[in-house]
Amino acid sequence: MNKPLSQRIVFWTLVIISILTLSAPTFVVLGASFTSGNMIQFPPEGFSFKWYGKILGEPDLRDAFFRSLQVALICVLVSLPTGTLAGIALAKYKIKGSNLIQTYLLLPFTIPLIGSGIGLMLFFGEMRILGNLWPVGIATSVINLPFMIWAVRSSAIGLDPDLELAAENCGAGPIQTFFNVTLPAVTPGVITGSLLMFILSLNEFLVSLLLVDARIVTLPVQIYNSIRSIITPDLAAISVVFIAVAIIAITVLDKLVGLEIFMKSK
């Protein structure tokens, strides 16, 4: 970047403020989880893994984590086929009323989360399925679905329609063409989308809070309930699970499609 010095100073000052604000909570949670004291304090009181050992013995936190994992898996199972089909359809075909359909499919983003959550709570309550984990999975899939559609759609746009015609010329039916030509071509998008869905569902707080009861709290809700009473380092240790999952997801995403994909215009 060959910009004037004054511009670089101004921009870099703001960027450094942003980096510090973005990273501070992550590092503080990481640091707090390794404390050997019983309180979170500064300067930290020695180094130990004792709080990690402690969370292994806390069934509440452990169960909540596995519930969150289950919710995230259900979310991916539901949104992967749904979003992939929709993304391909939107990229490949000229659809009558496509503007209306797109506006409709963006409802999960335009309706405030609290509205979506309460609406689903009333709906699922009426269907008498509240109190299970799978409706939570479906709900997180609904509210994040545009991410999945967007990811698949942007990689399906690059697909040359001639490839599919060639497959059909060689005698492949629509199903075979779909599985052997179309789907492999959009795989990067499917992977990006599924990863986003998994992470967002694992972290989903508000909709979980509305749809779970005391028996099936997910991890973000469990953490929320606990920080309102007292802040102990075991919460920091369990939060590190989220940080670890995030690091894995970013690494996978970067290796498979490259993070730079998010900087390109579609």
Binding site: M1, P4, F11, V15, I17, S18, I19, T21, L22, S23, A24, P25, T26, V28, A32, Q41, F42, P43, T82, G83, L85, I88, A89, L90, Y93, I95, L105, P112, L113, I114, G115, I118, G119, L120, L122, I138, A139, V142, L145, W150, P174, I175, I199, L202, N203, L206, P220, I223, I231, L235, A236, S239, F242, I243, A246, D254, L259, F262, M263, S265
Partner: protein, 314 residues
């Protein structure tokens, strides 16, 4: 010589079975409806939200009888009248609106240089670092991030511990309006940058160089060249940040400590503390309307065709 199809590989037979099955329920003539068939699951899934909205609308028209704790059979607008006549509603609407506007201005001002440096730098390691610094908090979730701020800013938090080392009395940094706004800015920053970056990528660096060659200072280049060209991205970022912070629940709940409720918190309280589902539903409808109105207002002032909605457009 093969004399029957049974000697074909298993996967071929599965494929044939699928093809035949599919052509039976979906004959060639239906081909032009194929995209609709592919969209159907997504439309159904999002349909649950539409049904949910209907239930909220229905609840919002039923009033709670405080003697029997039953909801009325007939519809009335009483909940809405009550919402608009109580000063409590106006307080939280004002607090949320003002907060989301301040958060949007700060977030976009921070997101713009961040996205700009990320896009313009020639150093690929720096770019990667900036992307990771952005995605890490984005992927960690709101509750854990808010928890981090509790550790930093709390009364026994890091900042106050550090201050006490130099003999300064603890300052109350949490559970006030600025703390909530600060948390929201931190939460929204990745959204802002990710909405802005593609718009900045689309502006060739040569245009800036040309402006510079013609004698424009960098401030003028920004003001008259880059910002106008990045407008779709700025509007997109603005809309996303504005609507998400207007309707946020976690930051006001955790960093505001109950004293700085936004609309979402008030709705939650009506459902789970006061158990007045009708009034809560009316507040939810007002929030949906308020959010749509703000987006509409931005469209009217700055024009549509923004990144936010065109992200799904062909």
């Amino acid at each position: 010589m093969r004399n029957s199809t049974s000697s074909y590989p298993f996967i071929w037979r599965v494929m044939d079975l699928l093809e035949n099955g599919f052509s039976m329920i979906w004959p060639k003539g239906a081909g032009k409806y194929t995209p609709y068939l592919m969209l159907a699951p997504a439309i159904l899934l999002v349909g649950t939200l539409a049904v949910g909205l209907f239930y909220i609308g229905d609840s919002s028209l039923r009033t709670l009888d405080r003697s029997t704790f039953q909801f009325s059979e007939d519809w009335s607008l009483e909940n809405y009248q009550r919402a608009f006549s109580e000063s409590f509603t106006w307080t939280i609407i004002w607090r949320s609106l003002l907060g989301s506007i301040i958060v949007t201005v700060i977030t976009v001002s921070l997101a713009f240089p961040y996205a700009y440096v990320m896009v313009r730098t020639n150093n690929s390691y720096l770019r990667k670092f900036l992307l990771i610094a952005l995605f890490l908090p984005f992927f960690i979730g709101q509750v854990v991030r808010a928890y981090g701020w509790l550790i930093i800013l709390g009364n026994q938090g890091i900042v106050n511990d550090a201050l006490s080392l130099v003999g300064v009395d603890p300052i109350r940094l949490l559970f006030n309006y600025p703390a909530v706004l600060f948390g929201l800015v931190q939460y929204m920053l990745p959204f802002g940058v990710l909405m802005l970056a593609p718009a900045l990528t689309a502006i060739p660096d040569e245009i800036e160089a040309a402006a510079g060659n013609l004698g424009a200072s960098w401030l003028n280049t920004m003001r008259y060249v880059v910002l106008p060209m990045a407008r779709p991205g700025l509007i997109g970022a603005g809309i996303v940040v504005l609507t998400l912070s207007l309707t946020d629940f976690a930051m006001p709940a955790i960093l505001g400590g109950g004293s700085q409720d936004f609309i979402a918190n008030a709705i939650y309280d009506q459902f789970f503390r006061t158990s007045d589902q009708g009034f809560g539903a009316a507040l939810a409808m007002i929030l949906v309307a308020l959010g749509s109105m703000m987006v509409g207002l931005i469209f009217m002032i700055f024009g549509a065709g923004t990144l936010a909605l065109s992200s799904e457009e062909q």
